[in-house]
C-alpha cells in the first residue's frame, strides 16, 4: 500500500466510512434468523458446540432433545416448541454473544445447553441478571450449583463431584487399596480427581501418585512409563473426548493394561469414545449416572427409539438432552404453557419428577442440580467387538451434591 498523507479530507472520509460500516454491520447481524416473536410458539434457546472439539457432544445432546420432543408431538403446555440453536464453538466469548442474541433478540422463553464448564461460567452472570430460566444439560463444574448458583439456573446433567465420589469407597472395597491418579490438567479434571481422592482416602485407601497431563494432549507417552514405574494396582482417571481415546489406547500400547486396572469417571469410557478406544477399554470400571445397558423400561425404550430414529447408539449426552426436553415439557404442562409468570414456572420446574432412563429424576430443591443414582459400570464386550458399559450396581441412595 502506498504511503498516504493523512489529509483532513481523508480523515473525515475515513471516519464516515468507519462509523457507517460499524453501525450497519451490527444491524445486519441483528437480522440473523430470529424465531417468530410473540404469540404461541415456545422458544427455547439452545447453545451447544456444533463445531470444533466438542461437536460430537453438542450433536448428541441435540438429538436426545429432538427425540423426546418428537415423542410428544413437539408440544409443551399446549404450545408448539421451537428450538433456536446457536453454535458456541466451545468459546466462552462466542457463547456470550450468542446467548445475548437469544435473550435480547429472539426473546427466548427458556435457555438450555452448554457442554464445557468454562463456557457456562461465562454465561452464568448474564443468565442470572436477565432472569433467564436455564436448564444446563451438560457442563458439570461443581460451582455452578454451589458457590455460583442462581435461582434461575437448573442442571439436568451432573456435577463432577456426584459422578466421581461414589467410586472412591467402591474401588477400595472391590478393586485395590492403593491407586494412582491420572487426570487432565484443567478445572474439571482436578475436580473429578479431588472428589475421588476425598472419598477414597476416607475409606482407607492410599494415593500412590498423581499425574496431570496437559489439557489437551494427544501423546501420553511421557506419562505412561511413570505409571508403569510406580506399579499401582489401579488408576483413577479422568479424560474426555479425544484425550480419553488416546489415553486408553496408549495405555494398552504400553502394556499397562495387563497389571493395572483402569477405573475412572464414566466419561473416560462412555459410548461416544468406546468405538475408537476398542478393546483397550475392555474391563474398565467407571461410575456415571447412566449406562447404555441400564435395565429399566424407560431406558430400553430410549435406546431403541434413538437407534431407530438416528441409526446411532445413544450415549449419556443424548440422555441428558432427552431428560432436559422432558423437564421442559412437564413443567410447561404444569403451568399450562404460561411463561409470563416466572415464579410459577420456576416452581413447576423445581417440582418436576419422573422416571427417566437413568432412574428417578428429581431436582434438589436447594441447589437445583439433579439428584440421581450413580451406577457402577464395567466395559464389556457385548459380542462382535461391540463394547458396552454393563451395570454392576448402583449407589444405595441417589447422590445429592452438597451444594457448598
Amino acid at each position: 500500500m502506498a504511503s498516504v498523507q493523512l489529509t483532513r479530507r481523508d480523515f473525515l472520509k475515513a471516519m464516515a466510512i468507519g462509523a457507517g460500516a460499524l453501525t450497519v454491520g451490527p444491524l445486519l447481524q441483528a437480522c440473523a434468523p430470529a424465531a417468530p416473536s410473540g404469540g404461541t410458539p415456545l422458544k427455547i434457546g439452545v447453545v451447544l458446540p456444533y463445531s470444533k472439539v466438542y461437536a460430537q457432544l453438542g450433536d448428541s445432546i441435540t438429538k436426545g432433545m429432538q427425540l423426546y420432543f418428537d415423542s410428544v408431538n413437539n408440544m409443551a403446555g399446549g404450545r408448539p416448541i421451537t428450538l433456536i440453536k446457536e453454535d458456541e464453538e466451545n468459546d466462552p466469548q462466542v457463547a456470550l454473544t450468542k446467548t445475548r442474541k437469544l435473550i435480547e433478540q429472539d426473546k427466548v422463553d427458556l435457555f438450555t445447553g452448554v457442554v464445557a464448564t468454562p463456557v457456562v461460567y461465562a454465561l452464568r452472570d448474564l443468565l442470572d441478571s436477565t432472569k433467564t430460566i436455564s436448564l444446563i444439560s451438560n457442563a458439570g463444574g461443581n460451582d455452578l450449583t454451589r458457590k455460583r448458583k442462581s435461582p434461575y439456573i437448573f442442571r439436568t446433567s451432573f456435577t463432577s463431584w456426584q459422578v466421581a465420589s461414589p467410586l472412591g469407597p467402591w474401588v477400595y472395597q472391590n478393586v485395590a487399596k492403593s491407586v494412582m491418579i491420572v487426570a487432565a490438567d484443567y478445572g474439571f479434571g482436578h475436580e473429578s480427581a479431588d472428589a475421588f481422592k476425598e472419598t477414597f482416602t476416607k475409606a482407607g485407601g492410599t494415593i500412590v501418585g498423581e499425574l496431570y497431563p496437559p489439557f489437551p494432549s494427544t501423546d501420553f507417552g511421557a506419562f505412561l512409563p511413570k505409571i508403569a514405574a510406580a506399579k499401582p494396582p489401579a488408576i483413577y482417571s479422568f479424560f474426555s473426548g479425544s484425550d480419553a481415546v488416546n489415553f486408553i489406547k496408549q495405555f494398552a500400547d504400553y502394556g499397562l493394561g495387563k497389571d493395572i486396572q483402569i477405573t475412572g469417571s464414566g466419561f473416560l469410557v462412555e459410548q461416544d469414545v468406546l468405538p475408537a478406544e476398542g478393546m483397550a477399554a475392555n474391563g474398565a470400571y467407571s461410575t456415571l449416572h447412566w449406562a447404555l445397558t441400564l435395565d429399566n423400561a424407560e431406558n430400553k425404550k430410549f435406546v431403541a427409539d434413538y437407534k431407530t430414529k438416528f441409526n446411532a447408539t445413544a450415549d449419556v449426552f443424548a440422555l441428558q438432552g432427552y431428560d432436559t426436553a422432558r423437564v421442559i415439557v412437564e413443567a410447561l404442562n404444569a403451568v399450562k404453557g404460561d411463561t409470563s409468570n416466572k415464579d410459577n414456572l420456576l416452581q413447576a420446574i423445581r417440582a418436576v419428577k419422573f422416571n427417566s432412563p437413568r432412574g428417578p429424576f428429581v431436582f434438589d430443591q436447594t441447589t437445583q442440580n439433579v439428584n440421581q443414582y450413580i451406577y457402577y459400570r464395567q466395559v464389556r464386550d457385548a459380542g462382535g467387538g461391540q463394547l458396552q458399559n454393563a451395570v454392576l450396581g448402583k449407589t444405595d441412595q441417589p447422590v445429592v451434591d452438597p451444594g457448598a
Binding site: A14, T23, P26, Y121
Partner: protein, 327 residues
C-alpha cells in the same frame, strides 16, 4: 463528504435509542475489537512488524482489569489505567526481545511470548485458571454512578475508542508516524540516515500494546468475564485477519475489518453449521480479489466515482482539493 461523516457519527451516538438492544451489544463488541485491530495496524500497517502475539496484551489488559476490579475496586480510574499500564509494561518487555528479529522469526517469537502468557494464565490460580475469571464488575465513576447499564457502557466504549483512534491518527500523521512508515519501507535506509530504528520499533510496540490492553480491559468489563482463550494464538490470528481484510496501514480499515469479521462470524454461524467453510472462502476471496482489503475496495470505488464525475464535467484536467489530477 462532511455531511456523511456527521450522519455516521450521529448514528453511532443515537444508536442506543434505536430499538435494537442486541445490535447494541454487537456494536459494542465490534468497537472493542476495532480498537484491538487498530492497535495492531499501528504495528503492522505502519511499522511493518507482523506480530502473531498481539493477543497477549489484549488478554493482559483484560485479566488485570478483571483482577483489579474484583480485588481492589471497580473504580474506572483504578481498573483502566492498571490494565493499560500492565499491557504497556508487558509490551515493553516482550517488545524489547522481539524486535531483535525480523520477518517470520519476529512472527514466531511474538507467538512464543504470547503462548507463554497463555500458559501462565491457564494455570495461575489468581486468574481463575482454566475456568476463567468471572464476576468482573463494570467500572464505576464514583458518586454512585457506574457503567452497569448497557447504554452507559456503550457510550464509554465509544468515547474511549474514538479518543484512541484520534490519538493514533495524530501519531501516524506526525513525524513519528512518518518515521515508522519509513522503517516499514526500508529499515536499513532509515538506519543509514541516522534513525535509532530499534527505539522507534519499541515505541510503536509499546503504544500498540497499551491500546490493545485498553481494548482487552473493556472487553472483560463488557462480558463480566475473561477466559484464557483470549490469550490463545487463534485470537492473535483472528485480529491479524481483521487488519488484513480491512486494509493494513489505514487504521480505519482495521476497524472495518474487525466489524466485518465479527459480524460475519456470528451471522454465518447462526445460519449454517458450515460457517468455517464460508468464512475460509471469504478470506481467500479477499486475498485473490481485494488484496488491499476493504479500504482498498473503497478507494477503488471512490476513484471510479471521481473519474466518472470529472469525465462528465469537462476535458480540462483540474486539480481537486487534495492536489490530485482529475479528469
Amino acid at each position: 463528504m462532511r455531511g456523511v461523516v456527521v450522519l455516521a457519527l450521529i448514528l453511532l451516538v443515537v444508536f442506543p435509542f434505536l430499538p435494537f438492544s442486541y445490535a447494541l451489544a454487537v456494536l459494542t463488541d465490534v468497537l472493542i475489537f476495532g480498537l484491538f485491530a487498530m492497535s495492531l495496524d499501528l504495528l503492522l500497517g505502519y511499522t511493518g512488524l507482523v506480530s502473531f502475539g498481539h493477543a497477549a496484551f489484549f488478554g493482559i489488559g483484560a485479566y488485570v482489569a478483571g483482577i483489579v476490579g474484583i480485588h481492589v475496586g471497580p473504580q474506572i480510574y483504578l481498573t483502566l489505567p492498571a490494565a493499560l499500564a500492565s499491557a504497556a509494561l508487558a509490551a515493553l518487555v516482550i517488545g524489547y526481545f522481539s524486535i531483535r528479529t525480523t520477518g517470520v522469526y519476529f512472527l514466531m517469537l511474538t507467538l512464543a511470548f504470547s503462548q507463554m502468557v497463555y500458559a501462565a494464565a491457564f494455570k495461575a490460580p489468581f486468574t481463575g485458571a482454566s475456568n476463567g475469571l468471572a464476576g468482573i464488575p463494570r467500572p464505576t465513576l464514583g458518586g454512585g454512578f457506574g457503567f452497569a447499564d448497557s447504554t452507559a457502557f456503550y457510550y464509554l466504549v465509544l468515547a474511549l475508542v474514538l479518543l484512541s483512534y484520534w490519538i493514533m491518527a495524530r501519531l501516524v500523521a506526525a513525524p513519528f508516524g512518518k518515521s515508522l512508515r519509513g522503517i516499514k519501507e526500508n529499515e536499513s535506509r532509515m538506519r543509514a540516515v541516522g534513525y535509532n530504528v530499534q527505539r522507534y520499533k519499541l515505541a510503536a510496540f509499546v503504544i500498540a500494546g497499551a491500546f490493545a490492553g485498553l481494548a482487552g480491559a473493556l472487553r472483560a468489563q463488557f462480558n463480566f468475564f475473561v477466559a484464557p482463550d483470549t490469550l490463545y494464538w487463534t485470537t492473535s490470528g483472528i485480529v491479524l485477519v481483521m487488519v488484513i481484510i480491512g486494509g493494513a496501514g489505514t487504521l480505519v480499515g482495521a476497524a472495518l475489518g474487525a466489524g466485518l469479521v465479527q459480524v460475519l462470524q456470528n451471522l454465518i454461524s447462526s445460519y449454517t453449521e458450515r460457517w468455517p467453510l464460508l468464512l475460509g472462502a471469504i478470506f481467500i476471496l479477499f486475498v485473490l480479489y481485494a488484496p488491499k482489503g476493504m479500504m482498498g475496495m473503497v478507494d477503488q470505488l471512490n476513484n471510479k466515482a471521481l473519474h466518472v464525475s470529472t469525465l462528465a464535467r469537462s476535458n480540462v484536467p483540474t486539480r481537486d482539493d487534495d492536489g490530485r489530477l482529475g479528469g
